[in-house]
């Protein structure tokens, strides 16, 4: 170093000690130093700049965690006083529990030339002594030593070579390390504790190696299907009932049949009641050969109501030319124009459970709109239910289709 240590400032001594890491570890890149105080080597230009981050006190621990993720081998040295440790304790706790490879230099009060008290007393305010006596001393090294740090050491600015050696050992510990820095003349430098467990990002990389996908996981989706032969005008479908009717599944099967098999644009928006609670459940599907603007089926072209409440709540809002299908058993008080289809009964008969009511409903929608073919719906069902359930769900779909056709013909003859 170019300066005489007898006249060195505390800061120069610290930088000096820290930078010995550069010389000692030839196999390592130069360190990055983080502090809430800026480094000012250019007035006068005593040395070249360091890789240095000055930022919000305490938060720099979290910033250093990100740096560590990006730079596994660069020593990261944080310089912190009691206030910075206080501000950053939440970050410090989590860095310690994960054993993230950071080296914290904790400046004891005599280094920062204060007493062992937080900021207020440093301002020299004339506070009543009795009030000051209420406050305990700030001892960051003691706080941090209570954590499971991989390395805890200490050194004094009066023994710069010794301090540098402790810092070097802390960096080499390759884990969460703290070094108490004091200005005591009698302090013996040394390592207070040391533990061996893997540094977090070393362990993360080892774990993630097995997850690397051969194609980078980059290819998603499937080749786009050809667009429909004729333009398909906007078609709004609302299926409403209760949790346990399989309404979310119905929305996914219908919208994806349209979007991924029939070459249309499609949206699926819903509010799904929990199956066990039997709360109200609803899905809106909008399909068109043009991109979908508003995704609500407030004026449904087809409304399927699986409960009396759903029929009462939504029937009036449907498009004036829209079709209303109601479950023959559940909806006894039927709005005018309703087509009754035994949806839940068909679900039980063909799929063995009322949860297939949604799939039966999708069959009904196909029969009434013609927007999506049964073929596309069968393919979509096969992508959404487990293998052993496919056949019975396709039977439920086809049963809904046939029943709705039948109800429609009966209605037209009536």
């Amino acid at each position: 170093m170019t300066y005489d240590r007898r006249f060195a400032t505390t800061w120069q001594l610290l930088m000096d000690a820290t930078c010995t890491v550069m010389g000692l570890g030839r196999d390592r890149p130069p360190p990055v130093i983080l502090s809430s105080l800026p480094d000012l080597p250019y007035k006068p230009r005593a040395r070249a700049p360091l890789s240095f981050v000055q930022g919000p006190p305490g938060r720099l621990i979290a910033l250093a965690i990100g740096l560590r993720a990006a730079l596994p081998d660069t020593p990261l040295v944080l310089i912190m006083n009691a206030d910075a440790v206080s501000l950053g304790t939440n970050h410090l706790i989590h860095a310690a529990r994960r054993n993230i490879g950071l080296t914290l230099l904790l400046l004891r009060a005599e280094v920062t030339q204060t007493d062992d008290r937080p900021a207020l007393d440093r301002l020299g305010w004339d506070r009543p002594e009795a009030q000051q006596a209420l406050e305990g001393a700030a001892r960051p090294l003691e706080w941090v030593s209570a954590l499971n740090a991989a390395f805890v050491g200490r050194g004094s600015l009066h023994d710069p070579d010794g301090l540098a050696e402790v810092i070097h050992q802390a960096v080499e510990a390759r884990g969460f390390a703290v070094v108490g820095v004091t200005a005591e003349t009698t302090l013996e430098r040394g390592v207070l504790s040391r533990a061996e467990w893997p540094e977090y990002f070393d362990a993360y990389r080892e774990w993630a190696r097995g997850l690397r996908s051969p194609d980078g996981g980059a290819v998603r989706g499937r080749p786009a299907p050809p667009p429909p032969a004729r333009p398909v005008p906007r078609c709004e479908v609302r299926i409403a009932g209760l949790g346990g009717h399989g309404i979310k599944l119905a929305g996914a099967v219908l919208s994806e049949a349209a979007g991924l098999h029939a070459g249309l644009w499609a949206t699926q928006r819903g509010e799904y009641g929990a199956a066990t609670r039997g709360g109200p459940s609803l899905v809106d599907v909008v399909m068109s050969s043009e991109p979908i603007t508003y995704a609500g089926a407030d004026h449904a072209d087809v409304l399927v109501a699986l409960s009396q409440k759903a029929a009462e709540r939504y029937a009036a809002g449907r498009d004036p030319r829209g079709r209303l299908i109601v479950d023959a058993a559940e909806v006894t008080d039927r709005p005018p124009g309703a087509l009754a289809v035994p949806i839940t009964a068909l679900a039980r008969e063909h799929a063995g459970a009322p949860i297939a009511a949604g799939i039966v409903s999708v069959g009904c929608v196909a029969a009434l709109t013609g927007v999506v073919s049964l073929e596309a719906l069968r393919a979509s069902v096969a992508e959404h239910v487990p293998g052993r359930m496919i056949a019975r769900n396709i039977r439920a779909l086809e049963a809904g289709y046939a029943a709705a056709r039948q109800a429609l013909e009966a209605d037209e003859h009536a």
Partner: protein, 379 residues
């Protein structure tokens, strides 16, 4: 060849981030943004990236800044309460000119608000959330398709202009599942961070100049320099010299303003002959576009101006619009944050009214149409 799949806006954001080269995510899960974290926790390790759940959003923001300084494209995602916590470090990223992407899926606020309900109430927070005058970019998608593309664009703009970019979603777009066409990766424009060419001794990490953005050296690449939250000179060292401070302001205020043509995007729908216009963005713009179709069917000459870049605001487009139409109806899920901008830019030339909703429910085409018809009657 492009491919199709079904995804909601949050998933599209995550896929866009991966396609743009994001390799570090730090976050704290929060409704209605959590799916972004969930998806990236599985997908990032697949592509050699790192996913880290942090202790809070303060730490998340700090960590993505650190990872970016280390050379990784980095992002976090949150909602209003977390976005509030991020403001301190967001300001640090602005000041130190470190690229990163912050996704905010808005919900009704302030405070815990309506956690699962949609809102667009963080428009002004995205602009002025951190203290002090500062440049910022905020983008807002209207569909899952656009969420994918704007996610990619957010990373590109962050790298190009060395700035945090805020991707502002609402829960309408974030939670709506729809068809998305994923472009062939070969067709995607991905901006990589330019490397400095100056020798290490001459490198100016913050070279000043009108509209100039210096290349950011990655720590460990042979360049040593000073990064600080203090006002600094071109080398990154703090200064209080008013002459340098004013040159720094010139640099900061022009670094985006000199490139508005590259940054600011909006969509216009049937504005050519419009007499009345709706200004709407994000999920609300979809209801507005539907209202335009309905109004045209009734013979009303309605058009839509949809800001895609919210900040810098499409000022020129709105000024032109105010000279063309008689009335502008601003539809947004807040009490008038963009309406204020539109009123300012209209400067009395067009009458500006609003359709505002803050009860967590989406604005419907009927509401917008009713406001437009009201405006049409009062001609």
């Amino acid at each position: 060849m492009s491919r199709v799949c079904f995804m909601h806006g949050n998933e599209a954001v995550a896929e866009g981030a991966l396609a743009a080269g994001c390799r570090f995510y730090a976050g704290y899960p929060i409704t209605p943004s959590s799916e972004i974290a969930e998806i990236l926790s599985g997908r990032l390790p697949e592509v050699g990236g790192v996913f880290l759940q942090m202790e809070d959003e303060i730490a998340s923001m700090a960590a993505i800044i650190g990872a970016s300084l280390g050379g990784l494209k980095s992002a976090t995602a949150t909602s209003g309460p977390g976005f509030s916590l991020m403001q301190e470090n967001l300001g640090f990223a602005v000041m130190s000119e470190i690229p990163c992407v912050v996704v905010n899926v808005q919900r009704v606020g302030p405070s815990t608000g309506l956690p699962t309900r949609a809102a667009q109430g963080d428009v002004m927070q995205a602009r002025w959330g951190t203290h002090g005058d500062h440049p910022i970019i905020a983008l807002t998608p209207s569909s899952a398709q656009e969420a994918f593309h704007l996610s990619v664009r957010a990373f590109n703009l962050a790298e190009q202009f060395r700035t945090p970019v805020i991707l502002l979603l609402d829960a309408i777009v974030a939670q709506l599942k729809e068809k998305v066409e994923l472009p062939d990766p070969a067709d995607l424009v991905v901006v990589e961070r330019p490397k400095p060419t100056a020798p290490p001794g001459e490198y100016k990490p913050y070279a000043f100049g009108r509209g100039q953005v210096a290349p950011l050296a990655v720590f460990g690449d042979g360049y040593r320099y000073h990064v600080t939250g203090l006002v600094h000179d071109e080398y990154g060292f703090p200064t209080e010299d008013p002459e340098i401070v004013n040159r720094w302001w010139e640099h900061m205020t022009t670094k985006l303003d000199a490139h508005l043509d590259e940054i600011v995007q909006w969509e216009s729908v049937r504005l050519d002959d419009a007499e009345i216009a709706v200004v709407a963005y994000g999920g609300t713009a979809r209801a507005a576009a539907h209202a335009v179709t309905q109004a045209r069917a009734q013979g009303l000459k309605l058009g839509l101006l949809r800001p895609i870049t919210l900040w810098p605001f499409p000022e020129a487009a709105v000024r032109r619009l105010a000279g063309q139409v008689r009335r502008i109806v601003v539809a947004e899920m807040n009490l008038g944050q963009v309406r204020l901008e539109v009123e300012r830019l209209s400067a009395g030339r067009a009458e500006v009214t609003g359709v505002h909703r803050v009860d967590g429910l989406a604005i419907t085409p009927e509401q917008i149409l009713a406001a437009v018809q009201d405006a049409a009657v009062r001609r």
